[in-house]
Every structure is written in C-alpha cells, then in structure tokens.
C-alpha cells in the first residue's frame, strides 16, 4: 500500500520533533511504501535523514528560491518552454482569474466555506498543471483581482500599496503547491494542517483518496503568533490570519481523520467545528529501552539543567536564560546546557546578548545537536522545557523515560504528558520556571520520586509499540473505510 507523506519545513530536511516523528513512523511501518513530498523554503537543502528503504520517492516543493516552479522535478526544459509559450493572456483571464478571485474572496472571510476554497484551489491546480505558473501569477489580471478584491472591501481598503504588493507576492509563493502533479497513492498523510496538506485535498477531490492529518503544534496558533509578532498593521494581521484560517479549515474539513498528538489540540480543532468523531488522539511514543535511566560517568552531583530544543523563538530560549539568572542567585554552582541546532541566527545572537547582559557566560552553553540525547538527559539533574508552543514534545517524554524530573511550560500537550509527575509553569514566566528548577535542585527526594514516577508513566502510556500500532491501524482503517465503507 502506498502513502503520500506530506511535510512542511520538517522531514527530511530539518531536525526536530515532527521530523523525528515522521522518520520513526516511516521506518517502523515497513510494509507501507512512502512517497515524501516536502514543502520547504528554498531548494538548497540536503536531507539530514537517511531515507528508509520503503521511501520510494522524495519530492521537494520549494516555495522560494526557484525561477521556474518545476525546475527541480526533472521536467524536461522543452516542456517548460512549451508551457510558457502556450500560456496566453486570454486563458489566464478567462480560465484562471475567476477561480483565483473566488479563492481571495474566501480568504478574506477566513475560509468559512471550505468547499468553495477547495473548489477554487482545485480549478487553479488544473489550470497550473498545463500552464506556466510564473507567467500566470505575473499577469496583470491576477494583480487586478488582488487589488480589486482588497480595494473594494471595507475592511481591507486601507491597506497600503506596498502591503498589497507584498501580500500578492507571498500568496504567489505559498500557492506553488498547486503547480505540481502528485502521484496516484492509496492514502495521503499530512503532518500539518498547512499548505502541505493541499495536495491531499486535491487528490481526495480528484480520486477520492483518503486523507489523514496529524497535528503536532497547532499550525493556526503558531501562524497567529508569527503575525502578531512580525507584522505592522492590524489589517495586514487580519488578512494573514484569515488566509491561514482558510487553509487550516480546508485541511480539517477534507481530512477523513484528524490525529492530534495531544488533547490540547482537540480544543483548537473543535473551534473549527471539527466533528468529534473525526478526531483521535495518538500520543507520540518513545523507545523506553533506549531512553532509560543509565549510569553516566560524569560530574555526579553537578547541578546541571538540560534543555533539548532548537534555537528558535517558538522554543523561547530567552525564557530559560532569564530563569537561569534567578536560579544562579540561589545556586551559584548551577549551570545549563542547551542542546539543539540553531534555526534562527538573529535570535541566537539575541540570546547570546542576553546571556552577556546577565553575566551568565559561564553558566549557559549552547552545545549544538547531540547524537546521544539519552546520555545528556541522564547527566541532567533537572530537564527544563521553556517553549512557547509545542505539540506533544519528545523532549518531555524522553526525559521522563530516562527517569528525570522535568520543569516545563504549560503549552500544547506538556501537561498531559507530565500528568502530576513534573512541574508545569505558565509560558513566558522565567521567574516561575526558575522556582520550579530551584525547588527540584533543593530537594533530592522530590527529584528522585518524580523521576521514578515519570519513568513508570512513560513506559505505561507513551510506548513506542502503541504509537506504531495505532498508526498501522489508522492507515488500514482509512483505506478500508474509503474503499469498502467499513
């Protein structure tokens, strides 16, 4: 049976929780053949995972950094030239812009009618399969649609020309997923309710192929955080949020089954009016034989706080830096090791500056990624997780499986994972995060008992076998329900 696995900004080009999940799933479901289609920022990335043998195809869909949309897909140059020459202005005007206009109208109101969003995307996809993407989107007819639709709308009419141009430019890039063809498969599985899910919607519309959606972090929530942080005008923010709301709603509507990694996500999905019977929580699983309490030859008794997170704003590294300022006031021999790749160089520099401001240069170290996380967890006295947004973080359940006490922010599925055998504090609260760490550093009995219980909980509830078996079942179930109605 053949599965199209859809990813965005993750597997196999970037490390992180979603990539770990994808790799684990594919590696362990060997009886299925996978084709991976990865949406990524530019084509200049190399896979950082060895693809398992059951991956029979990998296609990258870069949103930026390519002059011609299909140039990395082995399409013959002759075909590209022919397509360009065959794309006539009148075709764009008559066959493309009506659907594009419908799409923009739906986006403006947050995609309240997902079937209309889907139909417009499908019609655009049919057009772009045969016509040149760049010429289409550079056409004045497309620009006219954007300009008219925004200028005529009482809410959006005050957008500046530069904002309108920027919006047009970004939408043009985000919709590149529409220009590609996708292979015939038995099942589509997207790892986010994002643009990467659009091919699954198209294949469902065209061939009735079942679509499974796993939701890790809440894509909509993360994009809202981006918009709030990164955009100037209120109207621009509203438009972006409506665009993402439309795409997320589309994915939720067309997915046959939504598989959030934690119950926290379910509340967001219900906000989008997803019927409860479509939702099944499948927790991530951890290999409890690899992640277990082990003796490590190291500075036993050192007050080491370990953080496993990529250096990224969403992980709120600044939170642990500030928290360590408070911790060091109480325990001047405490120190923090942060393991993870640097995703955001600017943010990394800001973190370094903050460390210097607080005089913590000898107390906090960025260690880069590690190949032996189980060893680093075991070296920790306390494991901390300072993040702003999470799905069901591996770092928590791995630390639990290693029998380590965890202090973490109350985001995503963290509270569900820890239950009552960890300390949960509000996000963006370095003082409370520090208090949790200090409490554990102060109390060896509490550390020991929490760690022991955490191990029991991880083994019992978050086993790798259960995780794999549940996915094996939902794959077969989705195909049988679609094919046989059972």
């Amino acid at each position: 049976m053949r599965v199209l696995m859809l990813t965005e900004g993750t597997y196999p080009y970037f490390k992180g929780g979603v990539s770990t999940w994808t790799d684990d799933l594919i590696t362990n479901l060997r009886e299925f053949e996978f084709i991976v289609a990865a949406v990524l920022p530019t084509p200049f990335f190399k896979p950082c995972y060895n693809l398992p043998e059951n991956v029979i195809g990998l296609a990258s869909i870069p949103l930026w950094g390519t002059e011609l949309v299909k140039e990395f897909h082995g399409e013959p140059i002759k075909m590209m030239i022919k397509r360009r020459l065959n794309t006539k202005d009148w075709e764009i005007r008559r066959q493309f812009t009506p659907h594009f206009r419908r799409f923009i109208r739906e986006v403006k109101n947050g995609g309240k009618n997902p079937e209309a969003v889907a139909q417009s995307l499908y019609e655009m996809h049919l057009f772009l399969r045969e016509h040149d993407y760049k010429k289409t989107f550079r056409s004045r007819y497309v620009w006219d649609v954007i300009r008219q639709e925004l200028a005529e709308d009482p809410l959006y009419q005050n957008l500046s020309v530069s904002s309108t141009v920027e919006i047009s430019r970004i939408i043009q890039h985000l919709l590149r997923v529409l220009a590609h063809e996708y292979p015939e498969v038995d099942l589509c599985h997207s790892s986010a309710a994002a643009f990467c899910g659009i091919p699954a919607v198209l294949l469902k519309m065209e061939f009735g192929i079942p679509y499974l959606l796993t939701e890790h972090g809440i894509y909509f929530r993360e994009r809202v955080l981006d918009a709030v942080r990164g955009m100037e005008g209120v109207v621009e923010k509203i438009l972006w949020m409506n665009l993402y709301r439309a795409i997320v709603g589309l994915n939720y509507h067309y997915a046959d089954k939504i598989l959030p990694v934690c119950r926290f996500n379910v509340d967001w999905e219900k906000e989008f009016k997803v019927p409860p019977e479509k939702i099944e929580v499948i927790y991530n699983g951890v290999d409890v034989r690899k992640f277990r309490p082990i003796q490590v030859a190291d500075d036993a008794g050192a007050k080491r706080v370990v953080v496993m997170a990529r250096i990224d704003r969403l992980k709120d590294i600044m939170n642990i830096i500030d928290a360590m300022g408070y911790v060091v006031d109480e325990h001047n021999d405490a120190f923090c090791r942060i393991f993870g790749p640097i995703e955001d160089e600017v943010y990394y520099e800001q973190c370094l500056n903050r460390i210097r401001e607080l005089g913590l240069e000898n107390r906090i170290s960025f260690m880069g990624p590690t190949d032996a996380p189980e060893v680093e967890y075991n070296r920790a006295m306390v494991v901390a997780q300072p993040s702003l947004s999470e799905g069901f973080p591996y770092t928590i359940i791995e630390a639990m499986a290693c029998g380590k006490p965890v202090v973490a922010t109350d985001v995503g599925g963290v509270r569900e994972a820890l239950g009552e055998c960890g300390i949960v504090v509000p996000p963006r609260s370095p003082k409370l995060l520090a208090e949790g760490i200090i409490r554990l550093l102060d109390d060896p009995e509490l550390r020991e008992s929490m760690g022991r219980m955490a191990r029991v909980r991880a083994v019992k509830l978050f086993s790798h076998e259960r995780f794999i078996e549940d996915y094996r079942r939902v794959y077969v179930q989705a195909v049988s329900e679609r094919k046989l109605g059972v």
Partner: protein, 154 residues
C-alpha cells in the same frame, strides 16, 4: 530518450495494491480480486491487518461478479486475519484491538458465521468500555500540583 518527472518515476514502481485498486475502479473485478489476493498472501505473516484488508477487498470484488462461495470463504479468511490482528495488539494498543475485533465480527457476519460474529462484537464492546486514550491521573501516584512560592520581586 524522454526525461521523466518524479511522478512518472514513482508511478513506475510496481504496486500490487495500486494495480488492484485501478482494476477495480475500471470495473475489471475478477482481475482486481486476483491482485488483492496476491497482496493479501504477501502480507500474510507480516501484517495481519493488511492481509485482512486484501482478503476482504478480494471478497467484495468476487461477490459483485457472482462468485459467492469463494467470496464467503475469503470473508471468513479476512475475519480470521482481523481477529489475529486484534489478538496481537491486545497488550499494546487497545484501540486497535477493539477495531480489529469489530472488523473481524463484520467479516464473519458477511461469511454468514453469525455466532462467531456476535461473540467477537461482545469482546470488542467489553474492551471498548475500558479503553481511554486519555492518560488518567490514576495511572501514577499523585503529586499535588506545584504552586510557585511568592518571592520578592527581583
């Protein structure tokens, strides 16, 4: 020689299941059933759920072309495989176990083995009542939720 796109390349990879699905869609049911059976036998011993789905799909095709006796035999085989799947997951993934028993019950019903079907449905229901995907507080000894101490402003 014509260059191939990635879609063309992956589409060339042989897949018994895809072929069967395509044949079924085209209305070539007898041939589709053969390919489903081939896939079911390939999966037998590896993945009971996939094998079951293969037998079940083949049975449905044969039923539509009037080969009723063969179809009933395949429904029974599919039921056996779903039951095998349910039993193999009982200590690992209870939700999958419930699904396996329910599918097995349906297959036995189609195979006209009503008593077995009823018994398995009862087994599924009895497990289903105990399954919750939510970790309950009772799974581990309880700790009181931590409340941060009030400290002086720094």
């Amino acid at each position: 020689m014509k260059e191939k796109t990635w879609v063309e390349k992956v589409s060339e990879e042989k897949s018994e299941w895809l072929l069967a699905t395509r044949l079924e869609r085209e209305g070539n049911l007898e041939e589709a059933a053969e390919h489903y059976l081939r896939e079911a036998r390939r999966q037998d011993g590896k993945n009971a759920a996939m094998a079951a789905l293969g037998y079940l799909s083949a049975a449905k095709c044969l039923l539509r072309v009037g080969r009723r006796d063969e179809a009933l035999e395949l429904f029974r085989l599919a039921g056996d495989k779903y039951r095998e799947y349910a039993e193999s997951t009982s200590s690992i993934a209870p939700t999958s176990t419930v699904w396996g028993y329910r599918m097995a019950a349906k297959c036995y019903m189609w195979a006209e083995e009503y008593e077995t079907a009823q018994r398995l449905m009862e087994v599924a229901d009895s497990i289903s009542g105990k399954v919750s995907s939510e970790p309950s507080a009772g799974d581990v000894p309880l700790f009181k939720p931590y409340r941060g101490k009030k400290r002086d402003a720094r």
